[in-house]
């Protein structure tokens, strides 16, 4: 009849009390477990965010160098000319084959004049926007051609600013073709349909005519452009090869954006791409803003889960400690009988601990059954909250520079970058944040058991102070 046996006898005799203790302990452990589950889920979600955040590396003209060149050329001739630097498509493809790159999008722009159709004009419309849009020379057309590898990978389509409403996207296989996607308003004002042909004229001295084939129609969300004088309806999307041929840079491109497989590989990949491009006319810069923004809610959830675990563990220890201290008080006589028999106080504390240990095991089972459910609910709730706040802050921050674009800093290029980051944030957040996987791993169970043990050990320690200080005579002989 050792203290372990006594513990079992006590628990089975005091069924009500044992049940109550079981419920309290289960409640504590459910909270601890939910915390652990959320912690783990946030951790693994953070890892998957790293993979799917869509960190981008963009290769674009080194503007400082471009302007420096322009200044030096203007000192010789009266009219300053500006040449957008280009890089060969071979180099771009080579960098695109890096294992850390998921996909890339080449962007080339050119400016032409409408020939077989009329442009859409905005009321505030006025010509000019010279060097920002056209890229080559001072003469600018009324139609801007945005050449891309794929419209699906293009920021304005990712952000749903532009949306294909009929026909199809521009695809990589459209390279070297004359296929175009035009804006809905432009199409309707000129009665253009899928399959129709349109003609544009180059702005260069030759004024060459180019015949294009409409394969898709897109709708632009905003009808007034932030660029004064250019209605967004006058933008035509084509393959990246077309603007290059217009500007006489066939086989070369001016801008490319690489999207990474894994955001964690950002630094190394930037370095590799830099060495492949190998040109001081270009800047290779990464944008992991979206990654950081995705990471933040995860970190918030994680730190919240940490707080839950600690708070509940501390509160649980205090609650259990108090309950045990109170129960020790009501068990004074019983403890006195054991003391009078010569039982060591260590064994008495051992009995107390064993009782709680048995209850802990029971509570663990209940917590494991309930914790998964609670952790799932609480975790996703938390995440949903974090997600909405993060998206609103993203939206706000990108609202900022919209007012006066192209006037300061690096102009259009910068603006495009900001749009890009917003676009990939929302699309990646849909991928990464909604899948908070809250399952119980063996290590979670171990962690829970460890926490539970620490809680009851502390509670027993606290209450055993009152056992050890109990004067045997006071227990029994005193009335």
């Amino acid at each position: 009849m050792n203290y372990l046996k006594r513990a079992m006898l006590y628990l089975t005799h005091k069924k009500g009390q044992s049940l109550l203790l079981l419920l309290i302990m289960s409640a504590i452990l459910v909270f601890v477990l939910s915390g652990i589950i959320i912690q783990n889920a946030a951790l693994s979600a953070t890892n998957s965010v790293t993979k799917s955040a869509g960190t981008t590396i963009s290769v674009s003209a080194n503007r400082n160098k471009m302007f420096a060149k322009m200044r030096s050329s203007s000192s010789k001739s009266k009219t300053p000319t500006i040449t957008t630097p280009t890089v060969s498509n071979e180099k771009i493809k080579k960098a695109g084959k890096l294992s850390t790159v998921a996909y890339y999008n080449i962007t080339n722009t050119a400016s032409v004049n409408a020939s077989s159709f009329d442009t859409v004009s905005t009321s505030t419309g006025s010509q000019g926007m010279g060097m920002m849009k056209g890229g080559k020379g001072a003469s600018t057309g009324n139609i801007s051609i945005e050449g891309v590898t794929s419209t699906k990978l293009t920021s304005s389509f990712i952000s749903k600013e532009d949306k294909i409403v009929s026909g199809r996207n521009i695809k990589a296989s459209d390279a070297n073709s004359k296929n175009v996607v035009i804006e809905k308003e432009l199409a309707s004002s000129n009665n253009l349909k899928i399959g129709d042909s349109i003609t544009v004229k180059t702005t260069t001295s030759g004024k060459k005519k180019i015949q294009l084939k409409v394969v898709g129609i897109y709708k632009a969300k905003s009808t007034s452009s932030s660029m004064p004088g250019s209605d967004p309806s006058n933008t035509i999307y084509t393959s990246y090869t077309l603007p290059a041929s217009v500007t006489g840079t066939t086989g070369k491109s001016s801008t490319v954006t690489y999207t990474l497989e894994d955001s964690g590989k950002e630094k190394a990949t930037t370095k590799k791409i830099k060495s492949i491009i190998n040109s001081s006319s270009f800047t290779v810069s990464s944008n992991d803003e979206s990654y950081q923004q995705l990471l933040q809610p995860m970190k918030n959830v994680q730190s919240f889960a940490n707080k839950i675990v600690w708070l509940v563990a501390i509160a649980g220890t205090i609650i259990l400690g108090l309950i045990i201290i109170l129960s020790v008080r009501t068990r004074q006589k019983e403890i006195g009988v054991l003391v009078s028999l010569g039982e060591s106080k260590l064994h008495i504390v051992g009995q107390l601990f064993s009782e709680l240990f048995v209850i802990l095991i029971g509570a663990m089972v209940i917590a494991l059954l309930l914790g998964n459910f609670v952790g799932n609910k609480v975790g996703n709730q938390l995440l949903a909250q974090q997600q909405t706040t993060s998206i609103t802050t993203t939206a706000k921050s990108s609202d900022g520079p919209g007012g006066a674009p192209g006037t300061q800093h690096n102009g259009g290029g910068m603006h495009g970058g900001a749009m890009m980051s917003q676009a990939s944030t929302s699309s990646a957040s849909q991928r990464a944040l909604k899948t908070l996987n809250t399952s119980i791993s063996p290590s979670s169970i171990m962690k829970l058991g460890g926490m539970g043990l620490v809680i009851i050990a502390l509670a027993v320690c606290v209450s055993s102070i009152s056992i050890l200080r109990l004067r045997p005579k006071d227990i029994l002989l005193g009335e």
Binding site: K14, L338, S340, G342, L476
Partner: protein, 218 residues
């Protein structure tokens, strides 16, 4: 032989002791009864004899060996058995398990001998059914008899009882006193009983009264 030498004790103020320089001795094979007014310090003396507390001054010897040397826990475990006025048994187990617990804790020679315990309980009028019932379901008299059987079966040579009949009627009290006499006379233990009941006091082989802070052996 349990001997008390020069025992002085006070609570609070040293100049107002309960008693001073007490010398007493308790032999085996005898029942000692101690009477005295309430609050005179009888229970306090028992707490020293039971190794549950230590006097301010003086020593207690068991067969010539100082209790301080034997050690209080060791002394309680092997040398002394205590019967209280109430709450003698662990309420969450049967009478049988109570005694088996005591035998196990004290490391008695009769450890684990269920049948022997049941037989002994039967001899004091507690049948097997009652022995296996939860201890709290037994009457006060039955509980005291279980406590006395416990004192008998552990190896202790000294049995100390504080008002063991305090909650019992005359018939049950008589039965309990008989059992104590059996412990002393048949099993050669020293039995020391504190009581306020003159009938019980008269049953002792040696009667001690605590009057005016002095122990008087009759």
């Amino acid at each position: 032989m349990l001997t008390v030498k020069n025992l002085t004790h006070w609570y609070g103020q040293a100049d107002k002791p309960l008693y001073e320089d007490v010398d007493l001795s308790f032999d085996t094979g005898q029942v000692y009864t101690i009477v005295g007014a309430s609050g005179s310090g009888k229970t306090t003396l028992l707490s020293f004899l039971a190794g549950l507390d230590k006097p301010q001054k003086g020593d207690i010897f068991l067969d010539g060996k100082n209790l301080k040397k034997i050690g209080a826990t060791n002394y309680r475990k092997h040398k002394v058995a205590i019967v209280f006025q109430q709450y003698n048994l662990l309420g969450y187990m049967s009478a049988l398990d109570n005694i088996l617990t005591a035998l196990s804790v004290t490391g008695s020679a009769h450890k684990g001998e269920r049948q022997y315990v049941l037989d002994t309980l039967k001899r004091v009028g507690i049948n097997e059914d009652d022995a296996k019932k939860n201890a709290q379901k037994l009457s006060g008299g039955q509980q005291q008899r279980v406590a006395i059987v416990r004192a008998l079966l552990v190896d202790a040579n000294i049995v100390i009882a504080d008002e063991p009949t305090g909650n019992l009627d005359g018939e049950n009290a008589a039965m309990i006193i008989n059992l104590f006499q059996e412990l002393a006379h048949d099993h050669q233990k020293s039995v020391i009983i504190v009581t306020h009941d003159p009938h019980v006091a008269d049953q002792g082989d040696v009667k001690i009264s605590l009057e005016n802070r002095e122990f008087v052996v009759a």
